[in-house]
Symmetry: C2
Subunit: 205 residues, 2 copies
DNA sequence: GCAGAAAGTGAGGAATCCCTCATGTTTGTG
DNA sequence: CACAAACATGAGGGATTCCTCACTTTCTGC
């Protein structure tokens, strides 16, 4: 049951294709936000990017690979933000830390709606879900790493699971908070309550 | 922003079509579990049901309507179970009540994997998501109703939101717990911890 | 038993998508 | 400078899916 990870069939080495590769991803992201994953086609991406379809297929076997790549890009960005936060914030008050980070994530999803579109896309088919699960687990590992010095009492394995649950719940509630096309900030408040209660309970256990 | 609800174009009144209607739904559910929503086609449903394609289109405009109908069926079943539970269990210990009900839901998702397939399907496109959101909100209203006598201190509006969050988180974590095609019971344990902590925190606030 | 409503049927036109592949061009390197 | 590797291109074959619509059959109520 090794998850087949969807990767671009080829990554550019030369500058010229590098630009095309990146441009395709930018256009793909816009299109995804605009039409949703179902109506998202490779042909339309190539056409909007004003690149021949053959060029797109040089890099991406199909649309699943494209959205997985977009998801990976977003996850990298989240991991970087997480690292920044972890460095900048006095590490003792980890509850405040998490709450702020959740606010930050929510702000990102609002300011850049394509993040949600990408997340929804990768969740929507078995193949992309499997790839996204790996990406999500790596992210969770990062979260566990940040949490480690702050919750020394928690066993390693337990922390791993908690981090995975946290990541999953945060994404799922972020999604929930944007139902009907606009932000519902109460949902974010509840998310913070939920996460806070969960972590406090774990600490006292 | 009134959500367009996907409904069958016609519901049977006569017995003969009633049977066909139900049979189509049964077959559709099997197919959905087998191939996933993307590869799920009306033609294949009709073919497996050994009914002409025209008959299917008598009832269902397209595949989105079919999965929304399946989702509705499942939601009705959950509401009934919820009512049963609410009646059978001594109502004082509502935490135990929720924990048991979550176990029950998990058991259902394990014993009937098509439930997850249906849930995933309705989550995967904008149109079905909107319809499913309505169904989910109705379910949440039911949960709020059950919770009401048990948490008299909580304001009505707050309880409504909490119920919606609960329902959303439970489904999302049920889904999480079945990653990779098999149950991960730790995830269910964490779900119960999460929900318990959330509710306790709300009670003490 | 009859009229009108409900239900049943399936061939087929229209519309996409997918993605390869044969051929030509550019770039990097020894 | 020459050769290999990387890159670029886009026409088109193959495969699906969608879903209507004109016509027939069955049922139901009076």
């Amino acid at each position: 049951m090794t998850a087949e990870i969807l990767e671009p069939r080829r990554r550019p080495t030369q500058e010229r294709s590098h630009k095309k590769f990146d441009h395709l991803l930018i256009v793909a992201r816009e299109l995804l936000l605009e039409v949703g994953f179902e109506s998202f086609t490779c042909e339309e991406v190539a056409s909007r990017a004003e690149l021949p379809i053959g060029t797109l297929y040089q890099f991406f076997q199909n649309k699943y690979v494209i959205v997985c790549e977009l998801d990976r890009v977003d996850a990298v960005s989240v991991r970087m933000e997480l690292a920044n936060f972890a460095e900048a914030i006095p590490s003792l008050d980890w509850l405040k830390f998490l709450n702020r980070f959740i606010d930050h994530m929510a702000a990102m999803w609002v300011s850049d709606p394509s993040r949600r579109a990408v997340w929804l896309a990768v969740q929507s088919t078995p193949a992309t879900r499997a790839t996204a699960a790996v990406t999500e687990r790596e992210l969770a590992a990062g979260v566990a790493h940040v949490l480690a010095p702050l919750t020394p009492g928690t066993p390693r394995e337990r922390r791993r699971i908690m981090a995975e649950v946290l990541v999953h719940v945060v994404y799922s509630m972020l999604n929930f908070s944007i139902r009907d096309g606009q932000e519902h900030s109460e949902a974010i408040i509840e998310l913070k309550r939920l996460v806070t209660a969960y972590l406090l309970a774990a600490e006292h256990a």
